[in-house]
Symmetry: C2
Subunit: 332 residues, 2 copies
Amino acid sequence: MPTIYDVARHAGVSAATVSRVLNGRATVDAALVERVRAAVDELGYRRNSLARNLRRSSTTLWAVIISDVENPFFTSLVRGIEDVAQEAGYSVVLCNSDENLDKEAAYITAVLGEQVAGVIISPASETATDVTDLLKGGTPVVAVDRRPRARGIDTVLVDNVQGAYEATAHLLEQGYERVACLTGPEGATTADQRLEGYCNALRSHGYEYSPSLVCRADFRERGGFEATLSLLDGDPCPDGLFVANNLMTVGALEALAQRRLSTPQDLGLVCFDEIPWADLIRPSLTTVAQPAYEIGRRAGELLARRIADPTRPAGALMLSTELKARESSSRP
Amino acid sequence: MPTIYDVARHAGVSAATVSRVLNGRATVDAALVERVRAAVDELGYRRNSLARNLRRSSTTLWAVIISDVENPFFTSLVRGIEDVAQEAGYSVVLCNSDENLDKEAAYITAVLGEQVAGVIISPASETATDVTDLLKGGTPVVAVDRRPRARGIDTVLVDNVQGAYEATAHLLEQGYERVACLTGPEGATTADQRLEGYCNALRSHGYEYSPSLVCRADFRERGGFEATLSLLDGDPCPDGLFVANNLMTVGALEALAQRRLSTPQDLGLVCFDEIPWADLIRPSLTTVAQPAYEIGRRAGELLARRIADPTRPAGALMLSTELKARESSSRP
DNA sequence: TTGTAGGCGTTATCAC
DNA sequence: GTGATAACGCCTACAA
């Protein structure tokens, strides 16, 4: 692999001049530029990013720490980030935390050593995720989806309370009277806020909150399946169900199929998170769509801006969800 | 940020010794090890990977170049790669080529400069994708999903011909008589091989190949939608349809819905690629499942092995698909 | 405008 | 077993 010195020798200039041409900063005599470019082509020179990174003590890498790339919500999110990153000249390193705090902490440490230019993280836990090491190290951080404990971090969220409110209100207004809520684990802000929205809707529509109509699971398919079965076995038996994320909804649908219950006749169903196949299943599935791609884009833009100006005050962005009423919640 | 020299001073040893302790290669006196570790903790020292990378002229990064993370097939694939990578101490950089050769080429160039430890690529084109630069630079490469032009590359594929054969044979054996095939663009090996399997099945079942029952699209939803409509308008009108990938199948389902045709009564449907919601739609969808996660794992393992021993002869792995017969192809 | 020279933080090669 | 020292390849004051 030729170095910048080989190019310099070949072009009859100094290494500094080659560097200047390559980086296009200072002005260089047109004739020299020409000779340097020719030498670069002839030798097939390519800049060694490792040396450059060390010298500049920074990389052009963004780390994205999320729980699981196989979740369509995170997939779209990552795509949004990646598109912005590419426009801004960064690459994206993927880190699946699997909601596992140890894995997440290991990634944070690794990312510190790698001197990534920035981090976008969906904190596995509001209370236990610790990004202070990153902040201390001066690494720009943007949080998405969930609010981090540390303040002063750029954040992109959706209005979970409002989204869950609309979902629940929609079911109540369709005439369902015993609407249950299947939400995520305690301590996850998304889970708690969606439960809060559910409660608000009950209250504002004159219904009483019943603990036996609320169940928590782990935001995964298996958990959704079991939790739905237990809700169906409860007393009172729900005639409506609001599920707080996409994966648990898959489990809920399986539970309903197993019990031979159909929507919207036996039970009205609304799910938080847009689902690619919501329109394809019969009956089609009513969802509270999160703008996942847009969340990713905004997070990427915030990160780029913070990298450019580390002193700017941190901002929190809250995007809206959109209720997409389909068949599963339309009371016959 | 403390450097290795700060640690050395603090522990009263040389930088070389600190390095030895940190890398655990050479044997160091137990007492010194202790002092070094204490100094590391006290100072909160963390290795600067940039300097290490430069010195060793290598990184612990794998680049994964695929067309789109939003495609569930690639998502599972990436997950498989990522899990192996983590076990082996590597991180994964994501590169979406969008099936765009320029973007792909740009990533290949970038990846060269970054001196990644290895590359896993799903080539956008068999003929036009050029990985020779990578090979010349000595970067280990593993191809997945599609066969690259250059030989001597580790490759993980599925048996597309066999999978498509089974899909088509299944439809014919169910009694569908005018089975159409919607495949991908010419030149994509996956598209061509799946078409080949379709043709083989027709022949072995005594049916004649009819050009008007074959249509090519771009492997995307929109293309699948339009191609399906044109197939339905063709003569003869198909009573069965084999769609060569997941995204086009979404388009096909939309086209069928628009025409108010239902499976399996009006038309038998089988799709290549497993689909997360295949079991949830009604009627459920018959698929030819690719072991996407497994492909990713195998590719990761091959890459790790090649990095360890760059001289080992390249191997090609072919995994099997599995026909998952569900309702959409079960002739009433 | 161009060249010289020093150093980014680490690891590997020497002597000791 | 340990310590000094020289790179790895690039960028950037500073000097010319």
